[in-house]
Amino acid sequence: MPDPSQYTDRPWMDSDAEPFIKVQSVSKQFGSFTAVDNVDLDIYKGELFSLLGGSGCGKTTLLRMLAGFETPSSGNIFIDGVNMNDVPPYERPVNMMFQSYALFPHMTVENNVAYGLKREGFGKIEIKQRVDDMLAMVELTQFSKRKPHQLSGGQKQRVALARALVKSPKVLLLDEPLAALDKRLREQTQFELMNIQEQLGVTFVVVTHDQEEAMTLSTRIAVMDTGRFMQIGTPTEIYEFPESRLVANFIGNANMFQGRIIENGPDHVVVQSKQPECEIYIDHGLEIQEGHKVWVALRPEKIKISKQAPDEARANQVKGVVHDIAYLGKISIYRVKIDDDTLIEVTSPNLSRPKDGNLAIDWEDEVYLSWEASSSVVLSK
């Protein structure tokens, strides 16, 4: 018997756990355009789930269906066991934080936050208490009498968050919550959001196009493209084990090699790549026949770049010439030319200072690239 408590942080691993939000073969068509194409999704209580994808991938449409602003063309959405198809937005146990924040410009901060509570018919004293508590949590107490146009972007964002959370919704939907903030504020707010989520235990569903944001915030990420899920998994799973070229490329950068499987053992495979001409040894088994063509992804930071030839090893190394260097301070990005058609991207931390202004590895230097057996991943889709 597995111990159920081992899954408390990872409810999606527990086959007995009941999903809090259940999206069941949902499609949405706008005229002849299919925005969301027959998707299934389970989100569990207390998760911070991200829908990640480029514009037009259907992530916002899916979020709007959860909020009730769009009705699915087919399929069902359950929240906390209740089918939401015929429930109007104003009766759903969810609240949304809009990308534009959608604060009511004619109301003070206080009244914006109180709006939802007033609709529930709470007493004056209770409303005041809850609004004050919420404003204290987002550190906006002294701004309660201001109008939205008197606030900075970050303050507006926090009012929007307070307004969406004050009704203690079962699910909070966030549409690009940090997109309108500048980089520094965004990083800071990411952690605030995570703290608040942990503190209140509300299930968050976040729509974002920013992979870094999704990586930092989420318990799990669903990568979307053309109305479908390309992959669903934890940030580590998505980054380290992308299933497709699209996911590998969308989350971070990846070098892609196409090759043929020449050896398939129980604990390893060897892929013969044509471009660059090399053998790739991978330390995980695959259920693919020998001789099959596959794509292999290799992250730039997992490649070691060196002027010295690595020790005797047949696989997992290539030789090339430095074509381009981007010096970013803490790291440098190298583009290494292997042959006429192949450039491999490598990122490497700048561990030591350049001596006498000379870079350790310079333009046109001949370099060796090598990587571990666990570094590359075969893309199964």
């Binding site: 609240n95 939802g116 609709r119 009704k167």
Partner: protein, 303 residues
């Protein structure tokens, strides 16, 4: 100054020139005539041409004699015909404005919410009546509303009534005429205002638990209030002083200030009283507006 010099100084001062033009326009065509009317309203009527006595007389050399006659304004107050007419005018224009708002608001809303191509067609339809003469359209209503008119004939033909009902020369006819004529002036500012409305605000309200009616009252109406006010003023102000519609559609049964003004000027040839009627109308219309502006200005300041 050379031509080049002029053009250069124009370029440098073009902003003040641009601002000056409308001011100049207002001065010549609004302020100056207004003061002339105001001056006449304080003069004494006489049978002459022009039919009022000069306000300023030169007695002996260098002594100016100014005679201000406030009798005209006092007369407006004393003769209850004028007070009654003002009240009747304000009542008719207020009710018409309200009806225009009740019809125009949903229309503007529907136009804003429709697709781009349909939106253009609907807007065209709103503006289309302007392409026909206003007078012609009022005459057309006379044809529709008359005892032997289209509506009565139709109602008799389908057997709903036996005798024609009195439609023309009634308050009803005046309301129909004013609402019909001024409706576009309500719809267009409302449309312009709603076009800028952020619809996600309505979704936000709904998301926070507001039913459609509550959303409308707590978000839509406050957000479209500038459009409501602009449209209402554009209907209310000209409707109060309306002359043609009450004259043609109301006959002698509907008292409105425009008719009185016309009578004083033409039938009675009493320019001073007519001018006093006009000035009093202006005050009745402008004072509330100035008050509103003042209150709004204070509100914007406090923002």
């Amino acid at each position: 100054m050379t031509l080049q010099g002029i053009s250069r100084s124009l370029q440098r001062n073009w902003k003040s020139v641009v601002v000056f033009i409308p001011f100049f326009w207002l001065l010549i065509f609004f302020l100056a005539p207004f003061f002339i009317v105001f001056k006449i309203s304080l003069s004494e009527a006489t049978i002459a041409s022009p039919p009022f006595l000069p306000m300023i007389n030169w007695v002996d050399e260098g002594v100016m004699h100014i005679k201000l006659v406030f009798d005209n304004f006092a007369y407006l107050w004393e003769d209850d015909l004028y007070v009654k007419t003002y009240i009747s005018s304000l009542k008719i224009s207020s009710i018409s404005t309200l009806i225009c708002l009740l019809i125009g608001y949903p229309m503007a809303y529907a136009i804003v919410r429709s697709s781009q191509t349909r939106k253009n067609i609907l807007l065209m339809l709103v503006i289309l009546p302007f392409w026909t003469s206003f007078l012609l359209r009022v005459y057309a209503w006379m044809g529709l509303l008359a005892d032997q008119g289209t509506i009565n004939n139709l109602l008799i033909a389908i057997g709903l009534i036996d005798e024609p009902i009195r439609l023309l020369y009634s308050h009803f006819a005046v309301y129909v005429g004013i609402v019909y004529t001024y409706l576009p002036f309500m719809i267009l500012p409302l449309y312009a205002n709603m076009e800028k409305l952020d619809w996600t605000l309505l979704e936000a309200a709904e998301d926070l638990g507001a039913r459609p009616a509550t959303t409308f009252l707590t978000v839509t109406v406050p957000m479209t209030l500038p459009g409501i006010i602009a449209g209402s003023l554009l209907v209310f102000i000209p409707a109060t002083g309306e002359y043609v519609i009450p004259d043609l559609l109301g006959g002698g049964n509907v008292l409105m200030i425009g008719r009185i003004l016309y009578n004083e000027f033409n039938a009675n040839v009493d320019w001073p009283v007519a001018s006093a009627v006009a000035i009093a109308l202006l005050l009745v219309l402008v004072l509330p507006m100035m008050l509103y502006q003042h209150v709004q200005g204070k509100e914007t300041e406090s923002k």
